[in-house]
Symmetry: C3
Subunit: 165 residues, 3 copies
């Protein structure tokens, strides 16, 4: 299979700069497991593009299913950007150092009666599998929440396993 960076290119996607945290936290935390492997906890990513929030509103009332899926895809791209930028990883082709995506938790800002959170978060899950192949498949929870930071439609957090070599 092609490298993750090559796959991104084939998909017509560009890895954005890793978004800065919205508040008092760090975007990733690396927990060494020994043998050069680490758990990488990725902070909740929101649909921010070039510093601007996209897809603000409740689903599907204010943001429709397609908009919410686009938001989830942006979250996934930002997660990949965070992994790529993570301190402690080698500098070149860091996405090649992903051993697996252990878990993904997706929060969808849901209007009353909306139960299609899986379809929304699938847009993120599918992207990870397209870019990382088998390594990108993950366990997952998708839930519908009342509100999200600054009103965004989707927030996604993840735990990766990465290697040094």
């Amino acid at each position: 299979m092609a490298s993750p960076h090559h796959r991104l290119k084939e998909l017509g996607l560009t890895l954005p700069p890793a978004p800065k945290p919205m508040a008092s936290y760090v975007p990733v935390r690396l927990v060494p497991l020994g043998g050069g492997r680490s758990l990488l906890f990725v902070a909740g990513q929101v649909p921010v593009v070039d510093g601007e929030l996209k897809h603000v509103g409740r689903v599907p009332e204010e943001v429709d299913l397609e908009g919410a899926r686009e938001a989830a895809k942006i979250c996934a791209l930002n997660i990949l950007a965070q992994v790529d930028a993570a301190a402690g990883l080698d500098r070149v082709e860091r996405l090649d150092k992903v051993e697996q995506v252990a878990s993904l938790t997706g929060f969808v800002r849901s209007a009353a009666g909306f139960g299609e959170q899986p379809q929304v978060i699938n847009a993120a899950s599918d992207l990870l599998a397209e870019v990382l192949g088998e390594a990108g498949k993950h366990s997952r929870a998708a839930v519908g929440v009342a509100e999200l930071p600054r009103g965004v439609s989707v927030e996604i957090t993840a735990v990766f396993v990465v290697t040094k070599d």
Copy 2:
């Protein structure tokens, strides 16, 4: 103490087939820690029985406390079924390979003013302790969310620690 499978039998419970994911993800992810031990991330389980969703609705408006507790118990059984079926574990008596349940996160689809999420998720927590003994005791969060996939009343995700031998 009796084996987990024996305990299930004593409790009059049958381990169901591991439910298939509702979307683009895998039901479990195994993260080796060295020494034959692994973290096992279990995807969010919902109250599905034989492929059919049970206990759909908001608690306690549409599904009462007892119904929600039954939903939580089904989620816990499905979690055990996923652990039992997990690829990478030995084929025989896999539930015997549970070193501990590290954490459980329970989401209850809650009507306004409902604050008994702990009582709901207790039905899952108690089952894990009954079946797995000390190993089944876990750290936990229980929260009330607006909506859940396809309207189910409860969704539970878990992180286990399992061994190979």
Copy 3:
């Protein structure tokens, strides 16, 4: 840098006794990683002081931003108390054994349209960094939920990495 216990004193804070779980779970679970290091999963902590719930209500309708931030700070203190009391850690100056805070998940019981979850959970994040220094910085998700156990305004769960020596 001063020891965590010394820093607490400087900040005018007293570590409370570790709150007892509200239901069928244990407050912490220690997952050994080898080399004397462990993941420590901390159960969801709520703003309980001396056994009494503080800051009950929806934010900002019933509990204002400052009240919610105070609730988040109490949750963080209770998390530190749980870590300090964790079985399996050395008895003296256990907070010195924190290698890092891997992740924090903050749930804020949010009224419709409230999107300042990050500002609320910052009160917890800032406290951890003030008390633990670099080790206290963490990845994080902050979400707004409909309801929380017994109506509290904030619930926070955490994963720490601790050492034996």
